[in-house]
């Protein structure tokens, strides 16, 4: 008798547990209330992603303090903070969405914005945009990241254009002047040669060529040289051009003639960061956030690095991050979320721009990492505060600030990741094969991108 009962219990228990699992996974829009008219001050709860993790106690305390202050201002709004590091992982993004676990207000990188809009995975917030008073001052090229036609799908948090990150310490060691970083690609080549000459293991200039990052940096270089990735209608490839050729020729020259790019290739995002952090890499394409990452996660020190604008550039690929809304969020949640975003991320002297608090907390201040407003009043205010409370050597980033003042931000091409994957081939070929035929590589990649774009349109 006993074993039989046990078996029945076991079976029933498992069946219940399994049914429970399946059920919870299918609950649509967990945490959101049904849409419909509601009083202006009706209670509303929003879950918000990217609360700093516990391992980052100071930033987390700032966030929590801001949540408390915000909720005092808006007693009907409850913010449910969700922490994670990193804030977005492509693998879990889709799973969270499918499982109804996605926050009402979720964090994104610019790189993913197009894909998310195209797949209908973010709410259209155009009808509520008037809630954001700061929107009118925002750089049009920045806000356009989150726009599709006239529709708005999100709000930026940080924004930057790519420049040239360099190791000031190595510049000095190699007899170069760290206060006069290269302004042309010829100067980059010359500096890279000198740094590589410091000895084995020293790399003058590093470049990506795997995991789609090669194509991403190709785009960055190409934009800098005034080239385009696709035709204006977005239907054909446009990188098989003198500018595209110049990007690859330059790399080929540095890799094989000058021998200034090191022997190890197929590098990806963290590889160059690690090399920068260990003080063996002279230069790389990157924005000021690279210095932040190198300092925070790869054992580099702020004072050893500098950033200048991309050589010879009039355009630069913009990067950054922001927030988008769950398509299942209610209008009340969207309005409440926009109020929170404005409070925490968009107001000078407040939230992320409270540089005084950051300085008091011992956090680095002074990196020109967030340019949302350009030369408008809030932009000027933010820059003043940043300089006033700076804790990192602001002068090291002055060439970037001065140089990028006239550089226009440019968006990623449509189907960016697919195009980047195709261009990884060309980048890896030039960096790993001395006899790589640049014309052939570009025309092959062009054909592949044309086919891919024709298929998807």
């Amino acid at each position: 008798m006993k074993p039989r009962n046990l078996a029945i219990l076991l079976t029933a228990g498992l069946a219940l547990a399994a049914a429970g699992c399946g059920g919870s996974g299918n609950t649509p829009g967990a945490g959101s209330s049904p849409a419909g008219p509601a009083a202006a001050d009706a209670p509303v709860t929003i879950s918000v992603g990217c609360q700093p993790p516990k391992s980052n106690p100071k930033e987390r305390a700032q966030w929590d303090a801001d949540v408390a202050a915000f909720q005092k201002l808006h007693p009907n709004i409850t913010i449910e903070s969700k922490d994670a590091f990193p804030c977005i992982v492509p693998e879990t993004f889709q799973a969270k969405l499918a499982g109804g676990e996605m926050e009402d207000l979720f964090y994104v990188y610019y790189t993913d914005v197009r894909k998310i809009i195209a797949s209908g995975q973010a709410a259209d917030i155009t009808p509520y945009a008037s809630t954001l008073t700061t929107l009118k001052d925002m750089r049009p090229d920045v806000i356009s990241v989150f726009k599709e036609g006239e529709k708005l799908y999100g709000v930026p948090r940080t924004n930057y254009g790519t420049g040239l990150v360099y190791n000031r310490k190595l510049f000095t060691q190699a007899g170069l002047d760290p206060d006069a970083p290269p302004k042309t690609w010829a100067e980059v080549q010359a500096a890279a040669k000198k740094i590589a000459a410091l000895g084995p293991g020293y790399v003058g200039y590093g470049e990506y060529s795997a995991g789609n990052t090669g194509g991403w940096h190709f785009t960055s270089s190409l934009y800098g040289r005034g080239g385009d990735m696709v035709t204006p209608d977005g239907k054909k490839a446009a990188f098989n051009s003198p500018e595209g050729k110049a990007v690859l020729e330059n790399l080929k020259q540095m890799r094989w003639t000058d021998d200034s790019m090191g022997t190890k290739q197929l590098l990806r995002w963290e590889d160059l960061m690690r090399m920068m952090g260990s003080g063996r890499l002279g230069m790389m394409i990157g924005a000021p956030d690279v210095v932040q990452a190198v300092n925070n996660d790869f054992k580099g020190k702020f004072e050893d690095y500098g950033v200048t604008s991309l050589p010879e550039a009039t355009y630069s690929l913009s990067g950054g991050d922001g927030y988008m809304f769950n398509p299942k969020a209610t209008p009340e949640q969207i309005k409440a979320g926009l109020l929170w975003l404005e409070y925490r991320f968009l107001t000078p002297g407040q939230g992320q721009f409270d540089y005084e608090r950051a300085k008091n907390d011992g956090l680095p201040v002074g990196l020109p990492a967030t340019d949302l407003y350009g030369a408008t009043a809030p932009g000027q205010k933010i820059n003043e505060l940043r300089t006033q409370f700076a804790t990192v050597p602001v002068d090291h980033f002055k060439p970037y600030v001065d140089g990028t003042a006239n550089v226009q931000f440019k968006l990623e091409p449509p189907k960016a990741q697919e195009i980047y994957a195709i261009l990884d081939t060309a980048m890896s070929a030039v960096l790993t094969r001395q006899d790589a035929n640049i014309d052939q590589l570009l025309s092959d990649a062009e054909k592949k991108v044309d086919t891919m774009l024709a298929r998807s349109s």
Binding site: P3, P90, Q94, L97, Q121, N212, T263, M452
Partner: protein, 301 residues
Amino acid sequence: MTTMTTRRDPGGFRRAFRRNLTAYGFLCAALICFAFFSWYPMVREFLLSFQKTNFVGPAEWVGLDNFRTVIEDSAFPAAWLNTAAFTGLALLVGYAVPFVIALVLNELRHATAYLRFVVYLPVMLPPAVAVLLFKWFYDPGPGLFNQILGLAHLPALSWLDSTSTALISLVLVSTWMNLGTGTLIYLAALQSIPSDLYEAAELDGAGLLRRVWHVTIPQTKLILLVMLLLQIVATMQVFIEPYLLTGGGPENATVTVAYLMYQYAFSFGNFGGGGALGLMLMLVLMVFSAVYLRVSRDDAN
């Protein structure tokens, strides 16, 4: 016997069922677990490959569009060729080496437990760690392998950075990681061979090679075949090595079907395309699995 009883006595089946209730209970639990955690995802994957979905609204049926998309992808033929080449090379290297090591270990009389432990050790290293360790070994500058080549006055190799050596470099990592498991399985098979067969062979004057050829191989034929099929199924799904070591490069030389599938699903956000590739790979693997089932059934008979 049971059927005879059932036919004569309709209550027999119920009695037999009741007698085995406990067994059915346990079976049900297992079946439910399988259904939810193994078969349901497979069915979902099958459906996904014919759908376009954003995981928000209802999925849209697109017929064979996803298949067309991935087949037209320029990386598609490269992925299959690389997967086949990887599997072939992994069989050449990874199949023979553990068997030879097992043969040697089986012949040894001293320190066998220690040596078995040493051989099995790499299996305990998490694959990601092992792969990253090899990334450092393969470094074309100060990497361990090139240092060794230098000591032997041989020219340095580009290892992962060259289209001609990248794939075989991945095979070496994979072989190293899985060496211990294969060796232990072969060793178990070798030790189950009755020792009187060897004694008889020795009395007939057979040397080591003849003993291996006439006794060992015929006696372990079945396990060798089963291992061959299992290895084909496992190596065709190779993902972690290209993902962590080469990112599919240089020039698509290490893009595999599983890696392409990952790119579709997680880089391009095209789950349907990823599903289609997954289904194609599964169909190919099912052929090998069918052979495997056939072989193991023959074994049971």
